[in-house]
Symmetry: C2
Subunit: 341 residues, 2 copies
Amino acid sequence: MKAKATLKQIAKELNVSVSTVSKALNDSPEISEQTKVKIKEYAKLKNYKPNVIGLNLKNRKTKTIGVIIPNILNSFFAKVFSGIEKVADKKGYNVITCISNESLEKEIHTLEMLSNGTIDGFILSVSEEAQKLQDYSHFSAIINDGTPIVMFDRIADEVECDKVVVDDFDSALNSTQHLIDLGCKNIALISSVDNLSVGKLRADGYLKALKDNNISVNDNIIIRTDSEEDMKSKIDGIFDHKIDGIFALEENDSVAALRMSLKKGFKVPEDISIIGFADGILASRRLSPSLTTVSQHGIEIGEVAAKKLIERLEETEEETSNYETIVIKTKLKERESTRKK
Amino acid sequence: MKAKATLKQIAKELNVSVSTVSKALNDSPEISEQTKVKIKEYAKLKNYKPNVIGLNLKNRKTKTIGVIIPNILNSFFAKVFSGIEKVADKKGYNVITCISNESLEKEIHTLEMLSNGTIDGFILSVSEEAQKLQDYSHFSAIINDGTPIVMFDRIADEVECDKVVVDDFDSALNSTQHLIDLGCKNIALISSVDNLSVGKLRADGYLKALKDNNISVNDNIIIRTDSEEDMKSKIDGIFDHKIDGIFALEENDSVAALRMSLKKGFKVPEDISIIGFADGILASRRLSPSLTTVSQHGIEIGEVAAKKLIERLEETEEETSNYETIVIKTKLKERESTRKK
DNA sequence: CAAAATTATGAAAACGTTTTCGACTACCTG
DNA sequence: CAGGTAGTCGAAAACGTTTTCATAATTTTG
């Protein structure tokens, strides 16, 4: 366990001052070539690397981004994260990641923990609990303290900050319309995320599409819940009614819809066409039949969010711009689970 | 953009010294109740939180762990990460995460970037490129500088540090034996990770099982490669030969084996039994039939690695223990893709 | 009432940097 | 030779803490 080299040590061992060492290593013209060479060689020998904390303290920033993700095992968030990391790395930023596990308390705790100089700004998606309780005051507090936040996917409308979202309403509207265009008359809705902002928007899009086409809403084939158990107990029920299409609002729901259809003896897409939100890891190519999905472009969301935050961090006092909400368009990826009747 | 409160500011505004403020907020007995109350109230009003960087600099540690993961979109790594994060949070540590994307250069870059005071220690899984080139010198350099490393899953034998692994050889041996016990005579091997340490160990386990049972090795039904394309072009071929069992060494391989079997018209598990390494997100429950897998306990690996590192970080000079290699036992989870003949 | 003990506060150093400014030498110029 | 100018280098401050030690004021003690 060697002690790490510092400017001070090097200075002492070479009988020069700390400032001389610092300048030499930074190639300042004030220092003679001779001593520069001497110091640089010695520094290399000692494997000197400037301690970032000293620098951070001096610059009063850390070039580090805090990311709070509700659940890393959800592949959508994993994708977003990978987008963030990519951009951050390119721009010389580090990424501190915390997982809120959908808990409001952990979310607050993380915010507190990191907003003390550890990070320069946050990128986050609101936890389920916070959305359920509509409790967003902790975000405003952080922003007021001068730490910028960029929210993505699950956002809080009443918090003033930059946001990156998918056009949930329109995507759902279009997807449902697509099922209708394929000839579906009885389209079931399956949502296990009805407590989330995105879940509500998507459900609204579905309803709007039905209304636009003068299709009456059949509550028997609509599941809107926020619990896995509830979902499991209800999903059987919808197959007792006539169904020729399913629109699922979340990745797990999509896969569940497919499996259940097959298990109940329906053929997909012959009997039932299925479209689901999903970012492509679970669903898509690996299933038989593969699922037609609304692709959320997770990586792109992460990239855009990171760019926005870094832009915000690096703007000067004068050029502070207004908060922005960036909408990423989804894309319907047609695969094997949909077909014209 | 309010300026954040500092000790200095508070001191000035209350006409006391910085040290008094610091002591008051830390409840030092040196300070009178009266001034304590006054200072604490004012601090609360100003929403004062001690700047961590000042502390870090003073303590010469950051209570932050650096995690380097080859690929976050791989659900095994996502699970490990979630285990790490859980333990770290409980013990009051932050987690800085970087993704090497299997690149040696990014791995080195990350190591350099973070080992300058930003983090106290690393938890990492070696990138594919480093394993291919057998280039591990960058790890030793970091360790020599006094920054501890805990490696997991993909490890480098020649680097002296703590390690957390799965019993790859034994797992493969047992899984293959299990297929044999089920009555399989012609067991194919599918590996797209033959360049990785874990891939080699697993393949060796497979071969040993065959040998133990006096089954001759049939190279026609063995695919060992390190490229996706190569895999795609070869996988068709093995079905031209007699096969009644498949052992797949990686999550993607497992799913591919299942899909391909079905596509080729075989029934699983009636015609072919399949066992694959997988941590349960992609494969397992969601597929039909669901896959019998060797479960790697990703979350537990992460937890154990984090515990080990933190233990290492917090031990004193005298109590430094020897490096340890911790083996996590895998578990064979029987599902629908295996059956006795 | 003087000396000692207690109590409350502040000054300064330390952590590792960068940067501004001042100081010293040697040389050149008029 | 006085004065100016490069060319080198070092001292000190700053970032935000904590902590040790000194100082001042007050109280207790003999």
